[in-house]
């Protein structure tokens, strides 16, 4: 029997790519497919996926849940739970295109929801925490249902297959957004399950990640203490939760988060000016267990922009480029040049140096 993510830890190599328009000008998902397709060699066809931001403007005040179901029975069970906790504004099958490259598809549904006001009040949680908790409940308690996207005005699309095929399968070219990320996966054994593909998302945070973090279990055991449940045993899942925890719950800025998870070395900190040194020491000390070691390059999408970050030694490739209001990030330069041959600027950020790209205020 082939074990699913969650039953076994599957390390993988990968390709990542991301495009953001800082002025929130929307563009077609076709570009990101083109970009990730160039890096076909970095994946092995066993996982691909996309996150798109600004893709549901007509429902932008509702949480968009994308859910995989193993069968109709489970769907029914899950919808009972959803009905209890949320007002469902709209529900539909996510449109897909039948193609020979993508097999074994589960039922894939999309719901636009808002928390049930009385339930929310009774829970004494803030709205986002209520939604996150509900996602955990579905994913851990309803066996066979898996919420893989739960943010506002954003969505994740993923499957087992080459990313370009996955993009076509989900008809991504028919979506328009101001930011997209993509992932091509090279797992080191055969995952049979779509949930294990990237991006991994919680609320509007989505992470695509290339690498295998050596701090995984230290990070996992730490973050699980704060109410997260790592059901997939993947690095990406744990990184997503760390971002959610530090950004949403601890209100750290993305630069500060980088100083926690890809912290500068003590020797570097020693040479900082006094105030900065104190702060860096403080962050490393109190969030010690959230330091991530081992190779990674990650792209974190969120409602206000995109963050690109490499591990502290830069053990994975990542380049960033700018052209007008667009910023591109990818594992390889070729994946950027294919969609934008003439760039204003292109550079490889140093290890641990967060590239924080903010989109203009959402109106």
């Amino acid at each position: 029997m082939i074990l699913r993510e969650g039953d076994v830890r599957i390390p993988s190599g990968c390709a990542i790519s991301g495009i953001i328009d800082k002025s929130r000008k929307r563009f077609s998902g076709e570009e990101i497919i083109k970009s990730i397709a160039v890096m076909r060699e970095r994946g092995n066809g066993l996982g691909g996926g996309f996150a798109g931001y600004g893709i549901y403007p007509e429902y932008k005040d509702y949480y968009a849940f994308h859910i995989f179901y193993d069968n109709a029975e489970i769907k029914k069970q899950c919808e009972v739970f959803m009905d209890e906790h949320f007002d469902i504004i709209n529900l539909s099958k996510i449109p897909t295109k039948k193609m020979s490259e993508i097999k074994d598809e589960p039922l894939i549904w999309r719901y636009f929801v808002t928390p049930h006001p009385t339930k929310l009040k009774a829970s004494q949680l803030d709205e986002r925490e209520f939604v996150a908790k509900s996602v955990f409940k579905i994913n851990t308690r309803i066996n066979g249902a898996y919420v893989f996207s739960s943010g506002k005005n954003m969505g994740v699309f993923k499957a087992v297959g080459h990313p370009a095929d996955v993009g076509r399968f989900y008809k991504l070219d028919e979506y328009e957004g101001h930011c997209f990320t993509a992932h091509g996966r090279y797992p080191t054994n055969t995952p049979g399950w779509w949930g294990g593909a990237h991006p991994f998302a919680l609320l509007d945070y989505s992470v695509v990640h290339n690498g295998e973090i050596s701090s995984y279990d230290a990070n996992r055991r730490c973050i699980e203490m704060y109410g997260y449940k790592c059901t997939l045993q993947t690095d990406t899942e744990v990184i997503t939760y760390i971002f959610d925890y530090l950004h949403r719950k601890k209100s750290l800025s993305f630069k500060e988060i980088a100083a926690v998870i890809a912290a500068p070395f003590w020797k570097t900190i020693e040479n900082y000016p006094y105030e900065e040194k104190e702060k860096a020491e403080y962050l490393r000390n109190i969030f010690a267990s959230l330091l991530i070691t081992g190779p990674f390059s990650i792209l974190v999408g969120h409602q206000n922009g995109l963050v690109a970050l490499n591990d502290r030694l830069k053990l994975r490739p990542m380049v960033v480029a700018e052209k007008g209001s667009r910023v591109y990030v990818a594992s390889e330069e070729s994946a950027i040049r294919i969609i934008e041959p003439t760039l204003d600027r292109i550079w490889a950020p140093k290890g641990g140096e967060a590239v924080v790209i903010n989109a203009t205020e959402d109106k």
Binding site: T188, E212, S214, S215, A218, L291, G294, P295, L315
Partner: protein, 499 residues
């Protein structure tokens, strides 16, 4: 009539003995003597504790000590050791006393745990080429982030200990060990950027200069505790228990309470120093909380408070209680932890292994969401760098080493500390013996040991692709059990090798 046959025999190679009489000069147990008329050395095996002082200093390697082959009639139930103990007690009517840690053949879980390394999917890191960090802070990490008006983080934490490497020298009192042993530990700690612990014997006035690297202990006898003692230290440790003798107090005989020891302990010369089994102001957890806060009040909330407990059966709930008592650090001492003297039957039969205690406590504190509010320090017994790595991967923030530190200074584990005749100048107060431990040598040996371990820890971390020790803490996926049953694996929270 003496029923006990000597346990060891001194074997002298007369072909090599040059009768320099150094063995005779250096044996406080009077094993060796020179027979003038025959111009040769003789030995009294009865007195030998097998401490190897003579063996080590013999310039021609003419000596060795062997275990006597003399034996009782074989019996799996009535072993020679058991029979001898009965002889001793039948003769003396007393409690059997022993020193150092539990020597019995219980499982050593550290030896049944294997460490991971990277291959292919994740690069190993070469500590000679890349930074490899072992610095740790001990103390409460659970802080609410506060910012000033400009949105800048105010980097204020509760008091912390800052260590270059997660190893500290555990509590050994001045009295149970010598002035020179204390000076060696203090000097080494200063040089290494770590901490040593006074134990319950007070802090000698000469060592206040090392106070930046000193943890002072407050134990049930309150010996040597005063305001300056508390305020000079880097941290204060409340000793509730000791791995070698959980539930038992301490007794330093009056013969050792002489001169500076008496002054430092603040008790009259010649009086027995008796530490009660419990603290008589702590009969429950709420009382502990009061002591924690009294000590914090006394030191203006500037010193982290450590609570040290022995690993016993309900260690998880005890630790959970302590984590909520205001303590900054919990130190847990496993049943193999050392002692200057303990009732043998207590040492050998009470308590649980540190590996299991650590794994359960770390898990329990995480399950309760309070692991951040305390650091965990474990000891008893950490014997090598790989034990350190395994302890940290199981969930410890830092380790305490006692026996290993003594061994580095020259201790040969003869386990006769209670006699006060330590030939190595460590567990003794006799001036002619104390001077055998020259801190210039001993402190360097301690420094060497910790540096050597640090190198090995870094190599192992690098192999795992981890370049900072905080990413190893609680990283149990880096461990696998070997030859352990399901229950043991589940308590340790690790998979079996091959899984």
């Amino acid at each position: 009539m003496n029923y006990i046959y000597p346990e060891y025999e001194v074997v002298r190679n007369y072909a090599r003995c040059i009768t320099c009489r150094a063995c005779e000069n250096q044996c406080s147990n009077m094993v060796h003597c020179y027979v003038e008329c025959e111009s040769r050395m003789e030995s009294k095996d009865d007195n030998c504790v097998n401490c190897h002082r003579c063996v080590t200093i013999c310039p021609t390697r003419a000596l060795k000590i062997v275990k006597s082959t003399h034996t009782f009639r074989e019996n799996a139930n009535w072993t020679g050791k058991t029979i001898n103990e009965i002889y001793k007690q039948a003769q003396s009517g007393g409690v059997l006393l022993s020193s150092m840690g539990n020597p019995e053949n219980y499982p050593i879980y550290f030896d049944k745990i294997l460490i991971n390394a990277s291959q292919v999917t994740n690069p190993s890191i070469d500590p000679l080429r890349e930074p490899m960090e072992t610095r740790v802070f001990l103390g409460c990490k659970s802080h609410k982030i506060t910012r000033d008006g400009g949105g800048k983080i105010i980097p204020k934490t509760t008091p912390q200990l800052d260590l270059s490497v997660p190893i500290m020298f555990s509590a050994m009192s001045y009295g149970s060990i010598s002035y020179n042993a204390h000076e060696s530990l203090a000097k080494a700690s200063e040089q290494l950027g770590i901490y040593y612990n006074t134990g319950e014997g007070g802090l000698h006035e000469d060592f206040y200069k090392y106070s930046k690297n000193t943890i002072v202990q407050v134990a049930s006898g309150r010996f040597g505790v005063h305001k300056d003692y508390l305020n000079t230290a880097a941290a204060i440790e409340i000793k509730m228990g000791q791995g070698a003798k959980p539930g038992i107090g301490g007794h330093l005989p009056g013969t050792k309470i002489v001169g500076a020891v008496s002054r430092t302990r603040m008790i009259p010369e010649g009086s027995d120093a008796i530490s009660p089994a419990p603290h008589h102001d702590i009969y429950s957890i709420e009382d502990l909380r009061q002591l924690v806060y009294s000590l914090k009040e006394a030191t203006d909330y500037k010193k982290p408070v450590i609570v040290k407990i022995a690993a016993v059966h309900n260690i998880t709930s005890i630790a959970s209680g302590i984590a909520r008592s205001g303590a900054d650090i919990i130190a847990i001492d496993g049943f193999r932890g050392g002692t200057g003297a303990a009732p043998t039957k207590i040492r050998d039969n009470v308590g649980i292994p540190i590996e299991l205690a650590l794994a359960s406590v770390d898990k329990r504190l995480r399950d309760e969401g309070i692991r951040d509010s305390v650091s965990l320090v474990v000891g008893g017994s950490i014997r090598s760098s790989s034990d350190v790595v395994k302890a940290i991967a199981l969930g410890a923030d830092c380790v305490y080493i006692g026996s290993a530190a003594l061994i580095a200074m020259g201790c040969h584990l003869c386990r006769s500390c209670q006699s006060g005749k330590c030939n190595w100048g460590i567990a003794t107060q006799a001036p002619e013996l104390v001077k055998r431990l020259n801190p210039a040598i001993a402190h360097q040996r301690l420094v060497n040991l910790v540096i050597a371990w640090e190198h090995e820890i870094k190599e192992m971390m690098g192999g795992m692709g981890i370049n900072s020790i905080e990413s190893l803490k609680g990283n149990r996926l880096m461990l696998r059990g070997i030859g352990l049953n399901e229950k043991e694996l589940s308590i340790l929270g690790i998979y079996h090798a091959g899984e």
